[in-house]
């Protein structure tokens, strides 16, 4: 074991460019973050910030039009250097994915049992009855009542929440070390969402899976994440433990996001804070803060020099020339 290998996943300077009709788009701009074994890390941002692209880039799931650079070290191996066959073995066995829309990820003409069984057979070489038994255990693990009966049902017979549970069961069938969950509860109702978040917690406790949670929902982050990385316009702009991030957001954008959400715990009077302007779509990485045009604190430095990802006044990483020092009032 070489030093620093207490990290399960280490992403360094990940950059993703897409060639589109309207020219190149820089989707991820030198993003760096790390994830320890069994840790729950949330990658937070609004649409177009690059969080989903980052998740897909980890195991080479992006379309061919994407140019990916940077280092992605998973359990000591550099993933971009691996052949597609190797990657395929890692996908599903060591790194599993759960996406937002469970219906499109399930095969409508196969029973739930067949689909979970297939994963077990492919990756673990299990036989028919063993696979069936294990599939029922998995359904029980993700909180599906009467698992044996559910095995014989088709995806359309299940509710959205049940389908997402089935997806999670399939994802964790091989006890992956990392579960990448891309907006897993966005399409679901809050009462169902609460159950899915509980399932993620259970998995972590029972099989020690680390979770990379991609979400835009700060409520979900507050509920489950240990650490949070905030992304904006392709860059990671703040990284902190969840409590610290919510109590002492240092980047004006993070602070803006927190103030934009109606929060029953902090009765905002006189309206919600708005963030003027829109997220920029960039072709190249500017020598400037990408948030400068929307930021009330921006000055000449912000517009001409790229801020580094460094420790701010609150003691955690922030990419800002003028990080905020004032904590959020309780």
């Amino acid at each position: 074991m070489k030093p620093g290998s207490d990290r399960l996943l280490d992403v360094e300077e990940l950059t993703v460019r897409f060639g589109t009709e309207d020219g190149a788009v820089l989707a991820v701009d030198a993003a760096s973050f790390a994830l320890g074994p069994g840790e729950v890390l949330a990658l937070v941002g609004e649409s177009g910030c690059g969080k989903s692209v980052t998740a897909l880039a980890l195991t080479g799931l992006l379309p061919r039009s994407a140019a990916v650079s940077g280092r992605i070290t998973f359990a000591g191996r550099n993933l971009p250097g691996l052949a597609e066959r190797e990657l395929r073995r890692i996908r599903g066995r060591d790194i599993a994915y759960v996406f937002q829309e469970p219906m499109t990820s399930l095969n409508p003409v196969l029973t739930v049992g067949r689909q979970i069984g297939e994963v077990l057979r492919r990756h673990q070489g299990m036989g028919g009855s063993a696979a069936r038994r294990r599939a029922a255990e998995l359904l029980e693990l993700v909180g599906i009542p009467l698992p044996h009966r559910r095995l014989g049902e088709y995806p359309h017979q299940l509710s959205g929440g049940m389908r997402q549970r089935v997806m999670i069961a399939m994802a964790v069938a091989c006890r992956p070390r990392l579960l990448v969950a891309d907006e897993p509860t966005t399409a679901l109702d809050v009462t169902v969402q609460a159950g899915i978040l509980d399932v993620l917690r259970t998995l972590r406790a029972e099989i020690g899976t680390a979770v990379l949670l991609i979400t835009h929902d700060l409520g979900v982050v507050a509920d489950i994440a240990e650490r949070v990385v905030v992304m904006y316009a392709g860059r990671t702009i703040e990284e902190a433990h969840a409590e610290a991030l919510f109590a002492r957001p240092s980047h004006p954008y993070t602070r803006g996001l927190l103030d934009a959400v109606p929060n029953p715990a902090r009765h905002a009077d006189g309206g919600l804070r708005e963030i003027p302007g829109r997220v920029p779509v960039l072709a190249t990485s500017p020598d400037a803060c990408t948030f400068a045009d929307r930021c009330g604190h921006a000055d000449g430095v912000c517009r001409t020099r790229r801020p580094a990802f460094a420790r701010g006044p609150a003691g955690h990483l922030v990419r800002c020339w003028h990080p905020l020092a004032v904590p959020v009032p309780p």
Partner: protein, 332 residues
Amino acid sequence: MTPTLEIVDLVKHFGPVRAVDGVSLTVGVGEVVGLVGESGSGKSTLGRCVTRLVPVTSGQVRIRGRDIALLSRRALRPLRRDFTIVFQDPSSSLNPRMTVGDIIAEPLRLHRLGSAATRRARVIDLLDQVGLPADVVRRYPHELSGGQRQRVSLARALSASPSLLVADEPTSALDVSVQASVLNLVGRLQRDLGFACLFITHDLASVEFLAQRVAVMYLGLLVEIADRAELFAAPRHPYTQALLSAAPIPDPAVQRARRRIVLSGDVPSPVDPPPGCRFHTRCPVAVERCAVDVPPLRPVGPAGALVACHLVDDDGTAPEVSAAMPAPSLGS
């Protein structure tokens, strides 16, 4: 004063699907009522019934005293300038082949309000009210962002100065920072123009931000109606309690200390809703009676809240719903 909207025993069935199954709700003049429910509760169908975008099966929808529930589409058309609706999806709620100016002016043109010149002036005025620059009149919807499109939708809805606005999840498809600006805008317009608003959403936080009263819907029926402060401080119906406890609060210090009620099972099918209280199959505190008798929506407590639950006393005392109690699953 006659309330702006009075829904009486409204029923809407789509074939065997009992989407709305006897709902009564009032929205006073200039009042914002939040209608909260999860998918399948029938809240959007209720909104479409109120604006008569779908035919009503039975019941009354009185707008400023006049029942429009069963009027013919022809008879309805001249009355439509008084009530209107804004939809959720900004990508499908504007005609991609019309300019923003034409979109906003359409209700004015259809109701023959004003001359071409006054309509143009009105469009510019409306754009200003929703916070858009005048030069977007000649733009097409695809040239605008999601938040800007919702502003155009609002301008169109308000162009004929309606007295009732039904807002069907107007912020759900937007990014967090954009949601804030649209919520602020709806609040400001409502205060400035004084229309009544039925604000339909699954997002409790935005209801708490905007509404004066809140109605909670479950499987085609209302289970609780209360003033905002009362409902959020002391929800009475077990479903309302579960819903409130499930919505995460964006603050880990608060959220992680909360007691959460996790409901087991799924929302039953509206084709064959459970007998008795429709929530009893998932209710952690249900008793035998709940599976038999339908609880009426009745006034409880001193502030005039309405709750449909056998276990809530007349003085407003509600059952303590304890966390994560697996309710018996009554088949699939």
